[in-house]
């Protein structure tokens, strides 16, 4: 039940985009068509499911106080370790996809390397570090948290892309076209998502 609660929370209530603004750069830039939005969302979700548990293990067995030995506290290194894991993992995924599935590689194109600097992924790991001992108790929970956050981001970018495809037929004031209206739509979607606040399973 706790795990299911964590899963639902991370998708809807603590949604990466609407509650924390994570991954906004690619969210605004890549949400012009539903097809590419689906591709990027899938890639982000995959990377999150893999990197959050990896960083969880590193955090538990290397970085946290007294993990390596009595009196050794490496927690100040967590930023650099987390980003190194994420960058290395993205590089690995890129090489594997290039080797085994050139078609998928060409479809994803520039999005793959961009994932390394997507704040949603780094944010996922940093929030995981904060939640250790509260709602994340073991590796399984961290997988669930990574999956939920990734799915939440995926959901948000696909919905946004769908709205932006429709909005091309509307008369938006000239100065508001493009990013301006995208921000306001995101804000309104965020207000809609606030109805999930307070739901407890």
């Amino acid at each position: 039940m706790e795990t299911l609660n964590l899963f639902i929370r991370s998708i809807f209530i603590d949604n990466m985009v609407f509650a924390f603004f994570f991954g906004m750069c690619s969210y605004i830039a890549v949400s012009k068509s539903v097809k590419t939005a689906i591709g990027l969302g899938a890639a982000v979700t995959f990377v999150m499911v893999m990197t959050v548990p990896l960083n969880y293990l590193l955090n538990q067995y290397v970085l946290s106080p007294d993990a390596l030995g009595e009196g050794i506290d490496l927690s100040f290194l967590s930023f650099i370790i987390f980003i190194a894991v994420i960058a290395a993992f993205v590089q690995l995924v890129e090489m594997v996809v290039e080797k085994f599935s050139p078609t998928l590689y060409n479809q994803l194109g520039i999005f793959l390397p961009l994932i390394a600097v997507n704040c949603a992924i780094m944010g996922g790991s940093l929030f995981m570090q904060q939640k250790v001992g509260e709602s994340i108790m073991n590796v399984g929970d961290s997988v669930v948290y990574g999956l939920g956050s990734g799915l939440g981001w995926w959901l948000a970018i696909v919905m946004m892309a769908a709205i932006r495809e429709k909005i091309t037929y509307s008369h938006v004031p000239a100065a508001l076209k493009g990013p301006g209206i995208a921000f306001i739509i995101t804000g309104l979607m965020g207000i809609a998502f606030m109805i999930f606040t307070g739901i407890q399973l």
């Binding site: 509650a19 603004f21 750069c25 830039a29 390394a116 600097v117 944010g123 100065a175 508001l176």
Partner: protein
């Protein structure tokens, strides 16, 4: 002359947040109050300035295949420095900023300016470019935080401004979605004055 424009262009026509749409990720969550917004702005100015400087000094020695990882190491080191200093000297603010200090690493402004500018220019110019873009970012943060704190809780920097006249804080302003809507409105105003930026 050119050096001046490095410093001033990001404040107006080439603002990193509202024109280049960079670094929104960590920008908006820290704008509930003015104080954390100012601290965040200063931290980002420091990181963009020095990452630009360091990468510009290193630019001829790095093979382009591994430049991303070198950039991340340089940026992450600077951010760790900022984080440790904040924890030591401004613990309350550092608590309020929570994970967003760490997210300066993935802030697209830092990475974007290094990629787009510092790798092709001399150290001093790159340094000024970093300071300018950091200032542009800080400016947007302060504008958003000003409106959110004033109308959300009736205070500025925690000092009572309009709450004393019976103003009841509009708590909707404190929720995340309003930050997005305010940025949308800033873009609207900015592009109404800069017609060349409008999309056809």
């Amino acid at each position: 002359m050119k050096l001046n424009s490095n410093l001033t262009a990001p404040l107006g026509g080439n603002n990193p947040v509202i024109v280049q749409i960079l670094g929104i990720c960590s920008a908006l969550a820290v704008t509930v109050k003015l104080e954390p917004a100012v601290v965040m702005g200063l931290s980002v100015i420091f990181v963009t300035a020095f990452s630009n400087l360091v990468m510009s000094l290193l630019r001829n020695g790095i093979p382009s295949r591994i430049r991303i990882i070198v950039q991340l190491v340089v940026i992450a080191t600077l951010v760790i420095l900022v984080d440790q200093v904040l924890r030591a000297f401004a613990y309350d603010v550092s608590k309020q900023l929570s994970v967003y200090v760490g997210l300066i690493i993935t802030n697209c402004i830092v990475m974007g300016r290094v990629e787009a500018y510092a790798l092709g220019h001399k150290p001093w110019e790159s340094f000024l470019d970093g300071v300018g873009n950091g200032l542009g970012y800080a400016m947007i943060l302060v504008i958003v935080a000003f409106f959110r704190e004033l109308f959300g809780s009736g205070t500025l920097f925690g000092i009572d401004i309009i709450a004393r006249f019976g103003y009841v804080g509009n708590s909707l302003m404190l929720f995340p979605p309003m930050a997005l809507i305010i940025v949308g409105c800033i873009i609207w105003v900015h592009r109404s004055f800069n017609k060349d930026l409008q999309e056809k």
